[in-house]
Amino acid sequence: MPLVEFTPQLRRFVDAPACRCDAATLREALEAAFAAQPRLRGYIVDEQGHLRVNVVVFIDGRRARDLRGLSDPLAPDSHIHVLQALSGG
C-alpha cells in the first residue's frame, strides 16, 4: 500500500503521522490521512481542496503535477512525501 509521510515541521502545529493507505491517486491518499487526523487537512490543502501554494508533494521522487485536482496516480508501493516548498520561506 502507498505510504504518505509529512514534513516534521508540521509537528509544531498538528500531529501528522505517516499513513499507509489503499489509494490509487494522491487525493485518495491525502483523504485517508485527513480521515485519521482531520486538523491536518487545512495545513495541506486550502478550502477549495487545492494543494497549498507553499506545500510541495513528491511521489516516488517526482513532484506531483496536478496541484488542484491531486489526480496524480499512485503505484501500489508508492512513497509520498508532503513537504514545505522553499517558496514559503
Binding site: Q9, L10, F13, D46, E47, Q48, N54, A85, G88
Partner: protein, 356 residues
C-alpha cells in the same frame, strides 16, 4: 488608563504591560509565526489571533485566559468557488480585521470577505450578501494582489450596524447585520483611477477607517489619496489637508472627542518612508481644520520606519497611544501624542497594535 496592550508582528504576538517605568514586553506567543491581527481579550479573557503561516495557510487561534494559553479554532473559510467566478480565488489568505459588536465577532479578510461568528469565534459564516454583490467584481488589490477588507467599525449602540472599508472597494454600511449593504464613500476621490472614475465610490482606497465611539456619526479615513472625515455616519466625506503629508496608512480616532484624531504620515506615493527621514504623528483637535506634527521622542534622523494601517492605536481614555513600525520600532505616548517613549527599536515588523 489601560495597562495592557498587544503588538502583532511578523514573528509572533507580543503582550505589553504598562508599569511604573513604562511599557514592557510581558509575553511572546507564537514565536516566529506571523500574526496578522488580534482581537484583544473581553472581560472573560477571551481573545483571538489570526496567524498566516508561511507554508500552511491562514489560521485562527483562541485564548480563554487572555493569551496565556491558546488553541486552534476553525479559521473563516470561503464556500466552494463556482466555475468561472470572477475576481480573486475564494481562499482565505489573511485574517485582516477582527471586531466585536454585540454578541457577534466580525472578521475581515484578504481577499475582501467579511465573516461573522456568533459563537465566540468557534465557527464563522461568510457574509454572502456582500460577497455576492456584483459590484465586488470591480474591487482591486491595494498593496496585495487581492482586495483587503481591513476596517470594521461597529456602531456602539446599534450592534447590527457596521461601516467597513476595503482596499480597493470603498466604504460600505450595513444596518441589518449584513443582510443588506450600501456604498458609503461619497466625497472620496481616487486619483489613481481614470479621471471620470475618480469619484466612483466602489473604487476608493481607504487605507483605514476609524469611528469616534462617543459621537459615532463621526468617522475618520486615511485614504490612499488623502485624509477624510465624515460627520454624518459615512454618508459624505470631506477631504482634509495635513502637514507634512496627508499620505499614510493608519488613523486613530479619539474615543470621546469627535474633533480629535491621529495619523502617521509618509511620503506619497511610491516612496513610503517618513518625510525627510523624520518620524512624526499628526494630530488634529479641531475636526481637521488644522494638524500639528508631534515629534518629541520619535526618531528624527535617517528614520525609514513605515506605520502599517493597523499600527497606530489609542486607548479608551484617549490619552495613551501606541505606534508600531515596519522595521520593528514600537513607541508609546501617555499624553495624547505630545511625547513618545521608545519601547523597542528592534522588534519584528509590526502589523497591528491594540490596547485592551
Amino acid at each position: 488608563m489601560t495597562d495592557r496592550a498587544w503588538a502583532a508582528t511578523r514573528k509572533g504576538l507580543f503582550e505589553l504591560r504598562r508599569r511604573r517605568a513604562g511599557w514592557e514586553i510581558e509575553r511572546l506567543s507564537f514565536m516566529a509565526d506571523p500574526v496578522t491581527m488580534l482581537l484583544p481579550p473581553d472581560a472573560s479573557g477571551h481573545m483571538l489571533a489570526g496567524l498566516n503561516l508561511g507554508h500552511f495557510g491562514a489560521k485562527l487561534q483562541a485564548s480563554a485566559d487572555a493569551g496565556k494559553t491558546w488553541r486552534e479554532v476553525a479559521a473563516p473559510s470561503f464556500p466552494p468557488q463556482p466555475a468561472g467566478a470572477e475576481g480573486p480565488e475564494w481562499k482565505l489568505q489573511q485574517v485582516f480585521a477582527l471586531e466585536r459588536s454585540g454578541d457577534a465577532i466580525w472578521c475581515g479578510s484578504v481577499p475582501g470577505g467579511l465573516f461573522v461568528s456568533r459563537d465566540g469565534g468557534e465557527s464563522w459564516q461568510l457574509d454572502e450578501v456582500l460577497w455576492r454583490d456584483p459590484r465586488r467584481a470591480q474591487w482591486m488589490g491595494g498593496g496585495n494582489p487581492a482586495p483587503a477588507l481591513h476596517s470594521i467599525c461597529p456602531h456602539p449602540t446599534r450592534p447590527d450596524e457596521l461601516l467597513i472599508g476595503v482596499s480597493c472597494g470603498g466604504a460600505w454600511r450595513t444596518a441589518d447585520g449584513g443582510r443588506s449593504w450600501g456604498l458609503r464613500a461619497t466625497g472620496m476621490r481616487a486619483d489613481f483611477m481614470p479621471p471620470d472614475l475618480a469619484g466612483d465610490e466602489n473604487s476608493q482606497d481607504p487605507h483605514l477607517i476609524a469611528r469616534c465611539r462617543a459621537v459615532p456619526e463621526v468617522l475618520w479615513c486615511q485614504h490612499h489619496c488623502g485624509i477624510y472625515r465624515s460627520s454624518d455616519n459615512g454618508a459624505s466625506w470631506v477631504e482634509l489637508q495635513a502637514q507634512p503629508s496627508s499620505f499614510g496608512f493608519a488613523v486613530a480616532a479619539h474615543p470621546g472627542d469627535p474633533d480629535t484624531a491621529w495619523f502617521a504620515p509618509a511620503i506619497k506615493d511610491e516612496r513610503r518612508v517618513p518625510v525627510d527621514g523624520a518620524l512624526c504623528v499628526t494630530r488634529t483637535r479641531d475636526g481637521g481644520r488644522s494638524f500639528e506634527a508631534l515629534r518629541s521622542g520619535l526618531p528624527q534622523q535617517h528614520c525609514y520606519d513605515l506605520i502599517y494601517r493597523h499600527g497606530l492605536a489609542v486607548d479608551d481614555s484617549g490619552e495613551q497611544l501606541l505606534m508600531g513600525s515596519t522595521t520593528g520600532g514600537l513607541w508609546a505616548s501617555s499624553d495624547a501624542g505630545d511625547r513618545w517613549q521608545t519601547i523597542s527599536t528592534h522588534l519584528p515588523p509590526i502589523y497591528a497594535v491594540k490596547f485592551g
